[in-house]
C-alpha cells in the first residue's frame, strides 16, 4: 500500500513548519530532548552490589534483561518500521524513526549492563535461555503476527501499545524491586530512562490509534475494541506463566502480577479504553511505585494523609516565568 502511494504521488520533502497534527512536533521535541546513551550512566558503580546477589538472583536478573532485550530488538527492527509504513503524516513517520532508533539504544543498553556486571559465559547461557523459553517465545510470536505485512494497521498499533506499555513490565519490575532495596541502583537509573521513553512511545502510538478510530463506523470500532481486549487476555495469559516461571523461586509472583494488572490498565488507557482489572487487583507495592517515581510524593490533600501538600508563596505570573 505504502509503495503504491509513493509510486503514484510526487515525492514530498517534510516541512516541519506545516503540521497536520501538532502532536507530532510535541512528541518529536519530547523524544529528542530526552535522548540518552547508556554511557551516561555509571553502571560500574553497581559491581559491588551485583556481587552481593545470590547466584539465583543473578541468573534471574540476566534472564529478565535478555527477555527485555528481545522485545526491544523486535520493536527496533520490525515493530516501529511496520508502523512507519502506516503513518498518515510525514511527521509521524519521522517520530517513529526516532522511536525505532531508541529501541536499538535500549537493546544496546542491556548489553552494556552485561559487559559491566556479568561473565560472558553467564550471558551466553541467558541468551540461549531466551531462545528456548516457550513463554518468552510465545509473547514475541503473538506480537510479530500483528506486525506481518498486510496486517491491519490499527491492530498493529494495538499490539505495539501493549508491547510498549504492558509486556515490558514483568521485566521492569525486577530492577525496581532491587532499587527499592538499595541494590543495583545505577542499573535502575538506566532502566528508568528506558521506562520514560517507553511511556512516550505508548502514549504516542495510542494517540495515533485513537485518531485512526475517530473516523471509523461504530461496527468497526467495536471490532477493534474486541480485538484489543482479546489480545490483551492472550498476552496476559502468557505473561502470567512467564512471571510464575521467573519469580516463583523468589516468592514475588503475586506482587509482579499486581504490577502487570496496573500496567495493563494503563496500556488500555493509552488506547483510549477503560481499565480491565479492578483497582484491588492492580494495587502495586508502594515501594515499587516509589522506585518508579522517586522524589515525587503522592499528593493527597483530600484524605489528609501522606505527604505535606504544596502551597507556595504568590509569585507574579508572566509568560517569561513559565518555561515554554
Amino acid at each position: 500500500m505504502k509503495d503504491a502511494q509513493v509510486l503514484r504521488s510526487v515525492p514530498r520533502a517534510i516541512n516541519w513548519n506545516r503540521l497536520e497534527d501538532e502532536k507530532d512536533l510535541e512528541v518529536w521535541n519530547r523524544l529528542t530532548v530526552n535522548f540518552w546513551l547508556p554511557e551516561k550512566v555509571p553502571l560500574s558503580n553497581d559491581v559491588q552490589s551485583w556481587g552481593q546477589l545470590t547466584p539465583e538472583e543473578q541468573t534471574l536478573t540476566i534472564r529478565v534483561f535478555t527477555g527485555l532485550t528481545l522485545l526491544d530488538t523486535i520493536q527496533n527492527g520490525l515493530g516501529a518500521p511496520a508502523l512507519m509504513g502506516d503513518a498518515i503524516t510525514p511527521h509521524e513517520e519521522a517520530v517513529l524513526s526516532n522511536i525505532a532508533f531508541m529501541e536499538a539504544v535500549h537493546a544496546r543498553s542491556y548489553s552494556s549492563i552485561f559487559s559491566t556486571l556479568c561473565s560472558t559465559k553467564e550471558v551466553d547461557e541467558a541468551f540461549r535461555w531466551s531462545q528456548e523459553n516457550p513463554h518468552l517465545q510465545a509473547k514475541a510470536r503473538a506480537v510479530l503476527e500483528t506486525y506481518a505485512p498486510g496486517a491491519d494497521p490499527l491492530k498493529r498499533k494495538i499490539a505495539s501499545v501493549f508491547l510498549e506499555s504492558f509486556m515490558f513490565y514483568s521485566g521492569f519490575y525486577l530492577p525496581m524491586y532491587w532499587s527499592s532495596r538499595a541494590k543495583l541502583t545505577n542499573t535502575a537509573d538506566l532502566i528508568r530512562l528506558i521506562i520514560r521513553d517507553e511511556a512516550v512511545h505508548g502514549y504516542y502510538i495510542g494517540y495515533k490509534f485513537q485518531r485512526g478510530m475517530e473516523t471509523l463506523p461504530q461496527a468497526r470500532r467495536d471490532e477493534l475494541k474486541d480485538y484489543a481486549f482479546s489480545l490483551l487476555f492472550e498476552l496476559y495469559e502468557i505473561e502470567s506463566r512467564y512471571t510464575e516461571e521467573l519469580y516463583d523461586p523468589l516468592g514475588l509472583t503475586e506482587e509482579v502480577k499486581a504490577f502487570l494488572h496496573y500496567n495493563a490498565n494503563k496500556a488500555l488507557q493509552n488506547l483510549g479504553f477503560e481499565a480491565l482489572f479492578p483497582d484491588e487487583a492492580a494495587e502495586v507495592n508502594p515501594a515499587i511505585l516509589a522506585a518508579l517515581s522517586p522524589d515525587s510524593e503522592n499528593h493527597d490533600f483530600f484524605s489528609g494523609s501522606g505527604s505535606s501538600y504544596v502551597i507556595g508563596r504568590a509569585v507574579a505570573t508572566e509568560d517569561d516565568d513559565w518555561d515554554f
Binding site: 517515581s293 499528593h299 484524605s303 501538600y309 509569585v315
Partner: protein, 137 residues
Amino acid sequence: MPGLVYFSSASGNTARFIARSGLKATRLPISPKDPLPDLPRDYVLICPTYADGLGRGAVPKQVIRFLNVPAHREHLRGVIATGNRNFGETYALSGRIIAEKCAVPLLYSFELAGTDRDIARVRDGLAAFWGTQCLTA
C-alpha cells in the same frame, strides 16, 4: 457556585476522567483561536503534565496562557494534577508548579485517565473541600 475547570489535549485522558466522574466541569480550549467558555466563579483546576526529562514544559501552554490572566488566577482555589509515574521525578509536576506559582494547595494527583478509586477520592474530596471553603469565606 464553586466549580471545576480542566485542560485535556487531543489524547483525551483528562477528558475521559471528567466524563466518567459525572462531575460538571469546564474544558479549556486546545486551540488558542477558540474562545474561552464562561468560567465558574471559584474553581479547582485539573491539569495534565507534559514535562521532558528535565521537567521543562510541564504545564501545557494553553494553561499558562489562561493563568497569565490575573482575573482567572484570582478565583483559582486549588489544583489537581495528572501524569504518569513512568516519567519518574516529573510525575504530575504541573500541579506542583501551579500550586507554587499561584499559592493554592495541590489537592491530589492521579495517573492518565484515573482509576475508579481516583474518581471517588476526587468527588468526595472536592465536596469536602468546598464545604470548608464556604465555612471560612
